[in-house]
């Protein structure tokens, strides 16, 4: 009998070949296909982008290819990794010999994948010694060399650091070095830059590209950011509900998508030139609730009778173009320009008399074990009625601290924070209760900011109850109104947070924040934990609310493209200082501060050429 992970005489130029892969999750009682009939091929030196919303099966596909799925999973179809065929029956030792040597994987959270209590150099040395079978001394040399190759600053010194002493980007570099230790022919990268700052992200992307050029390894790059895809990938496979719906070269896909879902994803991306993202209605069906026929049909505006009953022929990613759709789109992508939101022309820092919320020379200290830490200082900015102010910057630059000062969560250590001429009261004082009616927060993670054991409806009503507004009936009526204006159906009122999707949770949080009819909404990375298609719909909602309710918005984000599509003014933060402040379009076209230019340059963007944005959709 042939071994299940038998060595094949193979074609070195195609390190990964998957055909007809179906992966199912199996228990005693039921079996459910997570990934269905996926075929793809990666050549040496090729970077294949695997894109799709979360839950579409990207990670499961990668894990299946590496034979990393647990015993509850069943795979059918063929997977060939370099010279090895991966099957369910492959023994652990056979798989171990594959992993690291023939293929390696890096993950989103690098620091969680490294051993926290061992120096990174030692971890790297061990891996090298194990994978290359060399002596420890030699392995050390190779490890150090690997650290140099991943462009780690001060590699000799970092060699003796623990993971927690390194930044996120440096940990990701270590992870990449570990992945390279066995000279793999194929690298799986599952959202490797999602958790990183834009400037660091662009460095890591460059690194992956240059390592690819150098070693000619194939790369499967999983991401949900089409800007990143455009930056690094050669070809793309779009995954939806466990199937590949479209594949082709990156230029073709980005310029002339043929599957409505791909178009939807591209349209969901905000761009630096101010495209207003559109989003895709609805959500990815759970694996056990996938519709018959085309899985995208419930969300597709081109869907016809046939789509609901028949399954379009599967697309395969094998170099050529293919699309799984009965009515593929034709022609090039153009962009519909949407009305710009009104923006008052005024310098955002100017001495404005009618400022709603303003910070003047504000500084904020946090108490730490090593004494006071000044998070921001000398911040002067103001928000007028109807403004949409973006606060952008990298993590740790003090963006959220500005939000906290505006909300009265932290007191100013120097300078002042004022709301309509009065100082912002501090949370916990009696003045703050009245202030809370005017300024509200939409935090980053909607799941975390809703009480898991209270229904959505009762939580939306709660602010009214707290402030004793209206009778029971009136509150009920207002709750329906709020649900509707946040784009939620009324029956969600009786559900619990874990019973609804992330996008719906964020809408519920927004509805709750709007219950008191605030004047200012402070959104702190409010869409960072959402899929791009969902993020686009939340942005649309915020634009709508701004128009209808005359809401002023402070939008804290690390994504410059979002700032561009939503905000009238931008404040750029860098290590606690405000480096540039002004209106959005002039600043994006001609940034004054070099740091702003650097941020703009590192932001991956889906736009190809300026001229294309001018074309309109047929």
């Amino acid at each position: 009998m042939e071994g299940p992970a038998e060595k094949l005489k193979a074609d070195y130029s195609t390190p990964l070949e998957i055909s007809g892969l179906t992966v199912s999750l199996k228990t005693k009682a039921w079996k459910c296909a997570i990934v269905e009939d996926v075929s793809l091929r990666v050549r040496s030196g090729e970077i294949l982008g695997l894109v799709g919303e979360s839950g579409s099966g990207k990670t499961v596909t990668c894990l299946a290819a590496l034979g990393l799925l647990g015993p509850a999973w069943q795979t059918e179809g063929e997977i060939r990794l370099a010279r090895t065929r991966i099957t369910d029956a492959a023994s652990a030792s056979q798989l171990v010999s594959v992993r690291g040597r023939e293929a390696a994987m890096i993950f989103q959270d690098a620091s969680a994948s490294l051993n926290p209590i061992e120096k990174v150099g030692k971890q790297l040395t061990k891996t090298v010694a194990r994978l290359r079978g060399v002596s420890t001394g030699e392995a050390r040399e190779i490890a150090l060399d690997l650290l140099r190759r991943v462009e780690m600053p001060d590699p000799e010194e970092r060699f003796h650091s623990y993971p927690f002493q390194l930044s996120g980007g440096q940990n990701q570099r270590v992870m990449i070095a570990v992945a390279l230790a066995g000279r793999p022919e194929l690298l799986f990268a599952d959202e490797p830059t999602t958790a990183l700052d834009v400037t660091v992200q662009s460095q890591i992307l460059d690194l992956i590209k240059s390592l690819r050029d150098e070693t000619k390894m194939g790369v499967v790059f999983v991401t949900h950011d089409l800007g990143v895809v455009k930056e690094v990938c050669d070809s793309v496979a779009v995954l939806y509900a466990g199937r590949i719906v479209e594949s082709g070269s990156v230029e073709r896909i980005m310029n002339a998508p043929r599957h409505p879902y791909t178009l939807g994803l591209i349209e969901s991306m905000p761009t630096l030139s101010g495209h207003v993202p559109e989003g895709i209605e609805g959500q990815v069906p759970a694996p056990d609730k996938r519709p018959q026929g085309c899985a995208f049909a419930p969300r597709c505006d081109k869907a016809q009778e046939r789509c609901r009953t028949q399954l379009p022929l599967g697309a395969r990613s094998d170099g050529g173009d293919s699309v799984a759709c009965f009515f593929p789109l034709e022609g090039n992508l153009g962009r519909t320009e949407r009305p710009e939101l009104s923006s008052h022309s005024r310098p955002a820092d100017g001495p404005s008399t009618d400022a709603l919320l303003s910070l003047k020379d504000a500084a904020c200290d946090y108490d730490t074990r090593r004494g006071k830490f000044r998070a921001v200082s000398g911040i002067t900015l103001s928000l007028n009625e109807g403004d949409r102010l973006a606060v952008i910057g990298e993590s740790g630059s003090g963006k959220s601290t500005i939000g906290k000062l505006m909300l009265g969560i932290e007191p100013t250590s120097e300078g002042t924070a004022t709301f309509m001429g009065n100082p912002v009261p501090i949370l916990g004082t009696s003045d703050h209760i009245a202030f809370a009616r005017s300024v509200q927060l939409v935090p980053q993670n909607p799941f975390l900011s809703l009480d898991p054991r209270a229904t959505i409806g009762s939580q939306i009503e709660e602010p009214l109850e707290i402030h004793g507004i209206g009778t029971r009936q009136e509150r009920r009526a207002r709750r329906c109104e709020l649900l509707e204006s946040a784009g939620l159906s009324l029956d969600l009122a009786t559900r619990y947070p874990h019973e609804i999707s992330g996008g719906q949770c964020q809408r519920a949080v927004i509805a709750r924040a709007l219950a008191l009819r605030p004047k200012v909404l402070i959104c702190d990375e409010a869409t960072a934990s959402l899929d791009v298609s969902v993020q686009a719909r939340i942005i649309e909602l915020l634009r709508e609310l701004h128009r209808m309710h005359d809401l002023s918005i402070v939008f804290i984000t690390h994504d410059l493209r979002l700032a561009r599509s939503l905000c009238s003014h931008v404040a750029v933060m860098r290590s606690g200082q405000l480096v540039e402040l002004g209106e959005t379009s002039p600043m994006f076209e001609a940034p004054e501060h070099p740091y702003t230019s650097q941020l703009l340059a590192s932001m991956p963007d889906v736009e190809v050429a300026d001229s294309r944005t001018m074309e309109t959709m047929q």
């Binding site: 935090p443 900011s449 402030h467 009324l490």
Partner: protein, 301 residues
């Protein structure tokens, strides 16, 4: 109204339905344990009416009758009689009643006080937290019986209310630890902060939001503490510093039986088995509850 119509169309199970479904799927041993506890509770509530004889009535002619014997006056004793000829079944019922009374009220008292102490520590942090945590550590490193005995030594025996409070107090430090820890993590979880930002006061945040979220953990702790309270009560009564005659608890029964272990084993055996099976059942149900209420194994409410 529109939304209630819409919601009824959407099928969802109430928490009672979920609980029943869980119970139906539980292993046989859990069902037996629940059955035993239900029986004990039934006896505790109805002891007064279902006991065949007065539990204090002595009959010197019917002393030390074995289970199932009939006395000289033709009275039947299912579990036999003790050294004073009192009907053991009646005494058992009465003891179960008293033991349960002490355990239920004591445990609830300890749970409420302990949890509140934990809340206070989490709410105020700083030196309040430090002081409370030192007390908690102190308590955790000291057998509670010693404390209980010294309090009784000072206050004297025979005060039933004091005894209940004292017995219930054991384990307060565990509730305090749990409620403090979980409150801190609830605050960090974000929903508490979000609700405070809406203008809510401390009471609303703690009672309406945090308490329901940590209740499951506290309930599990109650189920662990309850048998310990029963044992503490019986051992104190056994030592003669707990429930005083003419009242009787399982501990008292046990201690009378000690002198007759060889010639009348049932006097100690019957209450002994009752204590054993009751605490065992509670532990089994407690373990099961912990699994059911654990949010990581159960996505239901």
């Amino acid at each position: 109204m529109a939304y209630s119509d819409a919601s009824s169309a959407f099928e969802r199970r109430t928490s009672t339905q979920v609980a029943i479904a869980h119970f139906a799927e539980s292993p046989v041993i859990v069902k037996l344990a629940v059955l035993w506890l239900v029986m004990i509770l039934f006896i505790a509530v109805t002891a007064r009416w279902i006991m065949p004889y007065d539990y204090q009535e002595t009959a010197l002619l019917s002393r030390l009758l074995p289970p199932g014997a009939t006395g000289t006056s033709g009275d039947f004793h299912l579990l036999g009689t003790d050294h004073l000829g009192r009907d053991l079944l009646s005494r058992l019922f009465s003891s179960i009643q008293l033991t349960m009374l002490v355990a239920v009220f004591g445990t609830l008292f300890g749970a409420v006080v302990g949890s509140c102490i934990g809340f206070v520590a989490a709410r105020f942090r700083g030196w309040v937290d430090d002081v409370i945590m030192v007390l908690v550590d102190f308590q955790a490193s000291m057998p509670f019986v010693i404390i209980a005995l010294s309090v009784i030594a000072v206050m004297g025996t025979g005060n039933m209310l004091l005894f209940i409070l004292l017995v219930g107090f054991q384990g307060w430090e565990r509730y305090a630890r749990i409620s403090r820890g979980m409150t801190l993590s609830a605050v960090n979880h974000g929903y508490a902060a979000a609700i405070r930002l809406l203008g809510a006061g401390t009471m609303r945040v703690y009672l309406r939001h945090i308490l329901p979220n940590i209740l499951a953990a506290l309930v599990v702790q109650v189920s662990i503490n309850f048998p310990e309270t029963v044992i503490l009560e019986t051992s104190m009564s056994f030592l003669g510093v707990g429930i005083q005659p003419p009242n009787t608890s399982l501990g008292n029964l046990l201690s009378y039986g000690r002198d007759y272990l060889l010639n009348a084993w049932w006097i100690a055996g019957v209450p002994g088995c009752t204590i054993f099976f009751t605490t065992l059942s509670m532990s089994i149900v407690g373990d099961w509850l912990r699994d059911v209420l654990d949010p990581t194994t159960n996505s239901g409410t």
